[in-house]
Subunit: 403 residues, 2 copies
Amino acid sequence: MEKIKIGLFGFGVVGQGIYRVIQRAKNAHAEIVRVCVRDLSKPRSVEFGPELLTDNPDDILDNPDIDLIVEVIDNADASYSIVTRALSKGIPVVSGNKAMIARNLPELIDLQRRNNTALLYDASSCGSIPVIRNLEEYYDNDLLLEVKGILNGSSNYILSRVFDHNEPYDAALRRAQELGFAESDPSFDIEGFDSLFKLIIITVHALGVYVKPEDVFTYGISTIHDSDIRYAREKGVKIKLVAQVVKVSDEYFTMFVMPEFVFPSRYIYSVDDEYNGVVIRGECYDRQFMFGKGAGSLPTASSILSDIMARRHDYRYEYKKMSYLDRPAYTTDITLRVYVRYTVSNIPAILPFSHIHEQYISADSNYVIGDIKLSDLIRHRAALSAPDIFLADIPTFFTDRDD
Amino acid sequence: MEKIKIGLFGFGVVGQGIYRVIQRAKNAHAEIVRVCVRDLSKPRSVEFGPELLTDNPDDILDNPDIDLIVEVIDNADASYSIVTRALSKGIPVVSGNKAMIARNLPELIDLQRRNNTALLYDASSCGSIPVIRNLEEYYDNDLLLEVKGILNGSSNYILSRVFDHNEPYDAALRRAQELGFAESDPSFDIEGFDSLFKLIIITVHALGVYVKPEDVFTYGISTIHDSDIRYAREKGVKIKLVAQVVKVSDEYFTMFVMPEFVFPSRYIYSVDDEYNGVVIRGECYDRQFMFGKGAGSLPTASSILSDIMARRHDYRYEYKKMSYLDRPAYTTDITLRVYVRYTVSNIPAILPFSHIHEQYISADSNYVIGDIKLSDLIRHRAALSAPDIFLADIPTFFTDRDD
């Protein structure tokens, strides 16, 4: 069997992980023939021949012997440039860059079609958990109702340290960074954007609809406070950063990324530390739960390897659900029940709650629990980003939103 | 888009479930054009036209308009006859008959190759959990180390009732039958054969090796006794019926179906009631856990629908791992630590334990915990099938066997 010849962009933690995994998986019949890096002199932890590295992208993009490009660089703009150039030349690409993919998916789908080539990116969503592939192939029908989960390992790690180990938030964040779970810019993880980008990609493969990242309400965990944790503990719930896309009727779906009060009966309640967990709910199969390591060098590399192997059989995403005649439309006209904790801001005056269920006022902290439209949360995004506010979803309103 | 024309064999609970699911999933573009049943006059719970049913298999097998045969009949011999006839004629088949498939897989693979057609059977293993497809496509490399799980919903339901609800075993079995979880012949479920057949199929897709069902040690739960449950509770573990295939070295793997003392830290500990849960462990991705409804009319039907959809793209299992040069070989030359409870039989005299860790003797019940070769358990199968004996695996021996 002839080996697949791979040109690799990026030789950091993930890139070197791929190099190792491919050496280990003999039956993969794959070979990395060239690696493009920014800094040739940087020390690497794997051994390789003198001809492997280059700092010129053209050495890969213009090399006719290369069958496949694997792109795992940390910069979304450079990633975009490489991936679009490769696809335009008809070279298939495997990428793990969720930000780049989520922002440019319509164009990337179009490029694949026009150049009759493929872009695979299962590694972009939940690392080693095969979410995209299963949504595309196995849940390839209109029975799917919801995908909901913990998609970001580092924010989940931080919340686990805070909740289960009583660690202060800052210490937990530092620890996540030391362990390599957190991105170099931690706001990507803790403000929910990493989860958001994954959710955008998941929604394309779940429901066949692309929604722009900026149109989705995204709220992170950076303003979480001792009083929020105390409150959650009193109620017997954990706070998790949850991303979800949910069909609310045959015609509409909604989606958002928000901290949630997760009840112990829910599958995602026990998704702790750096793990990811995804619940796929459908009309006939009820709930499927997939759980595993969502990030890290080798889990991500093994997911990239799965995409490389898929190219052996010329696999490509068909985006079949995008051609369904009765695709549901995105709506923010739904009502959520939320907990909002605040100190300085006057939340009850700012947010147009349709109903307030609880209100608590004290010297150092206040909170309100009320029903509010998702569209109103989006409208008041700026106000909600004040550092004295923390917001969490209480999933009691939809009876369907109970996993 | 043209509709896939399906000939369906079997119109019981699962068959009618498929009929319903296909009507519901409009974008599936599939249509059941003919259904072959044994008894035309039997009442059915779905509505259908007068021309749908036939009791003559030839009306489907000889109908040139039919693109695909779906076979969900309850009889392994009849299933074998239909599936082999269809494949020999080059007609692709989707089947859920695990016993038939597990017993005849080498011939069925050969038939697919010779007639350039496909047999898909994801529904045969764990219903709506996409185990086979993921093993075949996503874990399509030699990093896989282990597949272990609770593969039979009805035995798991019974054990859950017994453990969590203090129900007597017989009442729990009756309840499982009333709820439709148990097969009409409950021994299939509770003696471990259903799990065994699934494990045989899983092993072909996990490691590329076919092992005959009769060569695999299989021990069920029918002899479980109050004293076993008491013992497990005292130790803080649950007893679950577990099937596993495990690589014990680069060269060898082992497999068996046995009750296991499951520790609370393990993923499968919380797989209760009629649910199935599967852990896939690999060298780089560590443990992936998949959890869902393993049986029942609609979950099984939705899994069948996934296979029907896959045929739109001419999908077939390639059995790629069967052509690996360095496939591991099956061994029973491994040592397990087991708990054996007995009353009449003289277990310490019958079984050649290499080491006995605990022994307990009392007026009404005795047990021994010792290390023994899997090959010796197989050799003493007949003695172990005595009704006064219950056997369970204690997964402490391999450090690797700890999920």
